[in-house]
Amino acid sequence: MTDNTGHSASLIAAGATLPAGVSSSRAVRRLQAAAPLILRWAFALLLLALLISPMLPLIYQSFVNRPLYEAGKLLTLGNFTKLFADPSFQSACVNTFWFAVIGTIVSTAVGFVAALLLERLDLPGRKTLKIMFLAPIFVSALILALSWSMLYGPGGFADIWLRATLKFGLPNLNSLGGMAVLSGVSSAPVSYLLFASAMGNIPGTLEDAARAAGASPMRATLGIIVPLIRPSLLYCVLLNFVLNIDQLAVPLIIGGPARVQVLSTYLYDNGIAVKSDYGLVSAAAVVMLIMIQVFVVGQKYALGDLRRYTTVGGKSLRRGLVPMGRAGWTVSALIALYIVLTTLVPSLFLVLRSFSSFISPLVPITSVLTLDNFKLVFGYEAYIRSIINTLIVSIVGGLGATVLTFIGGVVAYRSPPAIKRLVEMSAFIPRAIPGIVVGIGIFYAAIIFPGGSYLSGTLAILMIAFTIRYYPTGFALLGPSMLQIDQDMERAVRVAGGAEARSIIAVLLPLLRPALVGCFLLYFVSFFKEYAAASFLFGPNTAVVGTTMLQLDMMGNLGPTAALSVVTLVLTLPIAIFVYARD
């Protein structure tokens, strides 16, 4: 790990002959040798600055007694004492813990099993199932929660139907457990993506070796895949835990009738909706930041020496799929059933809802079919503009974020440990901040830092905010894949006389292609759906679909909200199919 840069420095120093005419003075040569290292440090520090920029105003805010923009601020610990003394904060913390634990278990387990089955086994309809399984990432969690609530809530369509036919209803969705399961299911595709890119890099030869040594297929999987997937597993648990803590849509929709308050709704209510107490919000964000950093450090100790997970070496082959025969149909059917229940039926309900003025068992559906919802969405210039804005932010911002993540990965995993630690720590900082707080933080950052005023009210500030918000997710996706690529191949390029940039372009980039595509896709859909971070940053000309959808929902008519999410689905699904059909 440590020797890469030192290695290249020594290569040059050890007398690679310099072209004639170039000064051969010792100082210049030393500078040339140090250039890659200086670049790395510069990038790592810039990345840190970018990712903590929303946190700095917040940390400052948490220790002063007035909003940042007011004069006469005094340093105080009052925000923290107020926070810890609040019984709602205490109960919200306990609820959030269980919510996050259950959500993480569901998301990780479902994502792992699905990735194992769909990435390693030769199942009938594998590609279709895979795309279908990933579909929930294209639907806003907000709208998925609404569909679930209408279908699977107590007294919902599925509940009524089950009671009528089988004489028993569904377990109560309007509960902490119900919320957590829904949250876990809606983030399972993210876990899948994490596991899939890591699993794709484990060569089948390892399993074959286990099988040849007499292990059962099950034993081979558990013995080979599970240990090798450990970095992804730990990243996944970390990511899901934080995703669940940050989850706002599900508690907003179901938390009300479930009578459950979690940290995100606590922040939403006490920080934004009720009294805009930024001191309290900032203090809570700082507490969350500390909690998550503790978690990151714990994860680092659990992982230990990362070189043990290197599997894509120079000699390994591309993986093959395990043939399944008849049993494959059963497995496919089970996966299909899961997809139908969690995704397909709610999505169809959503589509149906977008084409009707309402849905009720009391009125035949044919009498309420209408195109009004779509006419409404396309009838206003502002709504159309928000769709176009979203496309620009998702594509341009998504590409920018992918490049930044790739460079971040190179700097982290092809550098001395000090830089690696710095980049890894920075990458996870934004995850500790709820989206809406990222929005406020960036907003303040644009005020405080020079040049920021040019950014406010533009699409660029949205791209920056979204990139900061989703950087940990993208980094978590790319990081493990990068770890699995043996540096020997890059060293081979270097030994053969290629520059470092050449080694990255010729070796790293092609090998990382699936992970990079997954990374871009994740950014694209995350940016497309994001509303929390945008709500403080969008201006009259820079509204995005996420904020428009939230406004439509809050105004109370589900029809246009459903229509807009169908538009989102139509715009994002072909991209996903295009990307995954090639894989």
Partner: protein
């Protein structure tokens, strides 16, 4: 409180009388009126210069908690009269409107001309602590508006939202149909099993506007009575953050009765004839809270003439007629609309439910933000986790 409302109502009737005739007359001065619709006679003599000056400005930027579709008919009507003024609206939460204003003012990037919100407590902060309202601004319509709609200098009312009861007509028989909150309480007490989790309302203490709303009702019926009602409703009630969800669930029959639901959200849905077959509604006789949505010119106003024209138009009879097409409810007595869910005005509800049933929200500290103790009691009664 109740007595006050009646007096105000009476005064408004007399105030409205002169307007129709005034609106028909032309005030001929200069060529500006030749090209555009004439202003009513009671408008200031120099109004033509305001119109002229607005042409050199850059439109109007409005921070509001109203949606695009609420604004559209109003802005369309405004632009028919002043086609050169581009109105941009930014739809935010009821207190976010102000938070954004403060933060942007601090940054020196504030471009806001007009502010619209229904969060009374946030307005008080805005007026008293931050001096955000342009108090020099006096609308040309000021004298034609009811006194209750002008709570503080420079602050006017764009619309009034009634909060009322909606129920599923197919599942609640006409004899059972609730006419008041107490009727709902009686239904639930009589048959708790049938109504368990079948009654819905918004989170009563969710935010400043909701607290204002709930507390106005609580103070109207009396704290003890209100707490008794909340306690009796107890387990029967599920609370939701969005009225949209409640309306969907009443339509499916998952929820039988909803109460304290906002007109701006419910009226447009009731206008759908198919939905109207299923949904019944009533303005509760023991307290139909009328939430005032206020409008003011911001101190930071960059386009004062355009902003003046805009607010004057919003408050005019023509503007108030136009905004009802966007789902908002007018409070001017000289606005006459065809009957139907989107044709309600303050006066019509007053006639239908009785003047003593209506409780407009005010800037009175007593009804504004409830004491923590009361918030806790209401939350405990409804088993809402604070």
């Amino acid at each position: 409180m109740t007595k006050n409302t009646i007096d105000l109502g009476r005064r408004r009737v007399t105030q409205g009388l002169g307007l129709l005739t005034a609106g028909l007359m032309l005030s001929g001065s200069g060529f500006v009126e030749m090209a555009f619709a004439a202003q009513p006679e009671y408008y200031p003599k120099d109004y033509a210069s305001v119109i002229e000056a607005s042409k050199a400005e850059h439109g109007v930027l409005v921070y509001s908690n109203m949606g695009e579709m609420n604004w559209a008919p109003l802005i369309q009507a405004f632009n028919a009269e002043y086609p050169w003024i581009k109105v941009q609206t930014l739809d935010l939460g009821s207190s976010e409107v102000f938070d954004r204003y403060y933060a942007e003012t601090a940054a020196g990037t504030n471009q806001t001309d007009v502010v619209v919100s229904h969060s009374a407590a946030s307005w008080l902060d805005f007026i008293q602590k931050k001096g955000g309202v342009n108090t020099d601004f006096v609308s040309a319509e000021a004298d034609k508006l009811p006194a209750y709609s002008k709570p503080s200098p420079g602050i006017y009312t764009i619309s009034v939202d009634p909060y009322f009861i909606v129920y599923n007509k197919a599942l609640i028989s006409p004899e059972e149909a609730p006419k008041s909150i107490q009727d709902i309480v009686d239904l639930v007490t009589k048959d708790p099993a049938r109504f368990a989790h079948k009654v819905a309302t918004g989170v009563p203490m969710a935010n400043a506007a909701a607290q204002n709303l709930s507390n106005t009702y609580i103070q109207h019926v009396g704290v003890d009575k209100a707490l008794q009602q909340y306690t009796a409703l107890g387990d029967a009630v599920d609370v939701y953050r969005s009225a949209g969800q409640i309306m969907e669930k009443i339509t499916t029959g998952e929820v039988l009765i909803g109460f304290m639901l906002s007109g701006i959200q419910v009226f447009p849905l009731l206008a759908d004839p198919a939905r109207a077959q299923i949904l019944g509604y009533a303005f509760p006789t023991d307290g139909t809270v009328m939430l005032m949505r206020h409008i003011a010119m911001a101190k930071t106003v960059k386009n004062p003439n355009s902003a003046k024209l805009f607010i004057d138009f919003v408050l005019s009879a023509a503007g108030q007629t136009a905004l009802s097409a966007g789902g908002l409810m007018s409070y001017r007595d000289d606005v006459v609309l065809p009957d139907g869910p989107t044709g309600y005005t303050y006066k019509k509800i007053e006639t239908e439910a009785g003047a003593s049933s209506l409780v407009p929200t005010t800037f009175d500290a007593k009804t504004m933000i409830p004491p923590q103790d009361l918030i806790d009691k209401v939350n405990a009664a409804l088993h809402v986790q604070p």
